[in-house]
Symmetry: C2
Subunit: 109 residues, 2 copies
Amino acid sequence: MDKKIQIKGNECPVARSLEIIGDRWTLLILRDMFKKKMKHFQEFLSADEKISPNLLSNRLKKLTEYGIIENKLYSEHPPRYEYTLTPLGRELGPVLQSLWDFGKKYTQS
Amino acid sequence: MDKKIQIKGNECPVARSLEIIGDRWTLLILRDMFKKKMKHFQEFLSADEKISPNLLSNRLKKLTEYGIIENKLYSEHPPRYEYTLTPLGRELGPVLQSLWDFGKKYTQS
């Protein structure tokens, strides 16, 4: 992973990270991958927060373009993909963990 | 801080955290407070990402309602407020730090 993701025009590392993952749906998809080991489009759709198919598809595409996740065709008829974190994507573990820790300790449902 | 923030209807700690801070502008404001020690409305407006006054005002209000930040009147004519992190807000440090670390290590401008 010596190749860095290029986010033009922003000198701040936090702002650059947020260009990639600074939206609620993206972070919920990453949670589903990290914590719930989800891999399939239908599984992400079934999460409690009820992401729409369009949004899900848009966010998976964006994460794939950034190299955070990758997809593999696992069924041809009908075509179905499996989404997994890349080694780069797994480096986002501490972000997800810190959100989990804060939520666990300082919020309740 | 024995009183937890109540986020109804969500069993997932990550999702509850994201209800509070799961949007780019909110996280940029928190960055300005944590990393740049900003306190004043005009300072937040001047950050590189150019948040609009309406959005800024909306996000500061939301963070205040959740008890993440607090404001203090520091000038009466005209009325001006100073915004600071509460002890609860400071517990978000690891979230900001993990975003900084990822951005620093794996992205470039």
